[in-house]
């Protein structure tokens, strides 16, 4: 989760958005985290680089929880 937060904050930092302090699985990537489709494309590349898995491979992912599911890390928080 920490690593994922770091990735999301990196993308937000580049967009001039404030860091997210508390990442939880209900957060919506677009509505809560302010990511557009270009950001999501970047997100999937960065996640793949870190975890070796393309989380958007089988279709669009909407929330942090869904990313964690794909990464098999739901129990972390």
């Amino acid at each position: 989760m920490e690593k994922l937060k770091e990735i999301i904050n990196q993308i937000r930092y580049n967009k001039d958005l404030d860091d997210v302090k508390d990442l939880n699985k209900d957060l919506d990537l677009r509505n809560d985290l302010g990511l557009d489709s270009l950001d999501l494309a970047e997100l999937t590349v960065r996640i793949e680089k870190e975890y070796g898995l393309d989380v958007f491979e089988d279709g669009i992912v909407l929330t942090i929880g869904e990313i964690l599911d794909k990464l098999g890390k739901t129990n972390e928080r």
């Binding site: 930092y13 580049n14 001039d16 489709s37 270009l38 950001d39 999501l40 494309a41 970047e42 999937t44 590349v45 393309d54 958007f56 491979e57 669009i60």
Partner: protein, 409 residues
């Protein structure tokens, strides 16, 4: 003239005068049908011998692997040669004009391209010598060779220098500091190279006042580079040349806006903003796809002025990258990145992406400290969001093609 330097190669410390060139050409007893050598001088000797004896030859890049050569020429014996029984002899005066010997001489080479398999193209002497200018004005030119001589741009430098009896100093594949020293120590006056070659010469506080002519070709030229070249070569005329292996040189201008010369008026046309070249201007090749009598170059232009007709080249059609349905021209993005004062060189390309189909990536060589956020902000002020690379790698070195262009694959 016999003592005049013909060729200097810093790599091998090879020094050859015009006298040696003439003697060694006249001593050749057989001409290789295929030239596959890393010795530039040997390549030049074989080309001259093949012209004066009117024998067709094929140039192969020395860095092609044996397997690649086998794939290109499955049924050929690379050691095949033409024994010269009644060989022709040249004297000094002949070197200014080999056209009298050339007859139906042909030279075959392979396009390197920035992608894909090399294409075979065969040129006549006239095609290769089309842009060569011989005059007293060029008598004291000293050429910096910044291209591989097995490629069309390198051949143009070779012919231009040879016919004016100029010295050629090899600059291809050398370190920046060595190139700077060679330009100064040999009093180089003319350089022809790719924009990438010039960008890699920078940054420098040096000024090469002896250089009178700087030609750029093979890749997209931009106005920022022109300004930088003006600083480094304050007395040089800066030329941007449009040429390709398929057609040789076609246009030249002093910035990035081209005109079609009168003599080519009926041989070049623009359809749907793409450049088409009449088959009469082309070399021969089985891989040319002609539409009627026209060859589509794939180079896209933007019209600057209708009458007189002026245009700017914006990129190649097959280079366009589709990002979520939007077309991005990587050359356009590179140009904007390169215009950042802290950037030396950039390469923009794509990677498949499950969200948008493709995602843009930029490899960047930077001059000073530059962070991703600062660069992105700069780009977003100048480009639509989908054209801004989302993955930025600051890298040290770039891989170049055999012709000194940025490698695209």
């Amino acid at each position: 003239m016999k003592d005049k330097l013909f060729f200097f190669n810093f790599h091998t410390d090879q020094i050859k005068s015009y006298g040696m060139l003439i003697n060694e050409t006249n001593e050749i007893k057989k001409v290789n049908k295929f030239i596959y050598s890393k010795d530039y001088y040997e390549i030049f000797l074989n080309i001259i011998a093949s012209i004066i004896n009117n024998l067709p030859i094929t140039l192969l890049d020395y860095d092609l692997s044996e397997k690649e050569v086998k794939d290109l020429l499955p049924n050929e014996n690379l050691d095949e040669n033409y024994p010269l029984i009644n060989r022709k002899i040249i004297v000094e005066e002949n070197l200014c004009d080999l056209s009298a010997f050339s007859g139906d001489w042909e030279l075959t080479l392979y396009t390197s391209g920035t992608t894909g398999i090399p294409k075979k193209v065969t040129h006549t002497f006239n095609n290769l010598a089309r842009m060569v200018k011989v005059s007293a004005k060029h008598e004291n030119d000293i050429w910096g060779l910044a291209y591989n001589p097995t490629h069309i741009a390198g051949l143009q430098v070779f012919f231009q220098a040879l016919f004016n009896n100029n010295s050629i100093i090899n600059l291809f594949g050398l370190k920046r500091e060595d190139i700077h020293a060679l330009i100064e120590n040999h009093g180089i006056t003319n350089i022809s190279a790719t924009p990438t070659f010039y960008r890699l010469l920078l940054p420098t506080k040096k000024k090469f006042e002896g250089v009178r002519s700087v030609a750029s070709g093979g890749e997209k030229f931009d106005v920022k580079l022109k300004d930088q070249l003006k600083c480094v070569f304050p007395n040089a005329k800066i030329m941007n040349i449009y040429a390709s292996t398929e057609v040789g040189s076609l246009f030249a201008c002093d910035g990035d806006i081209f005109e079609i010369k009168k003599e080519f008026e009926n041989l070049i046309k623009i359809t749907d903003n793409e450049i088409y070249v009449h088959k009469n201007l082309l070399g021969k090749s089985d891989s040319f796809l002609l539409i009627g009598e026209w060859y589509c170059t794939g180079d896209q232009i933007e019209i600057v002025n209708e009458n007189p007709f002026r245009f700017r080249i914006i990129g190649r059609r097959n280079e366009m990258i589709n990002i979520g349905g939007y077309k991005v021209n990587p050359s356009e993005v590179e140009e904007v990145i390169n215009s950042h004062p802290k950037v030396i060189l950039s390469k923009v390309y794509s990677k498949t992406n499950s969200v948008l189909g493709n995602i843009l990536i930029a490899d960047i060589q930077k001059r000073n400290e530059l962070d991703e956020k600062e660069l992105r902000k700069f780009l977003l002020e100048r480009l639509q969001a989908f054209k801004v690379p989302r993955i930025i790698n600051f890298s040290k070195d770039f891989e170049l093609t055999r012709t000194g262009k940025l490698k695209r694959t």
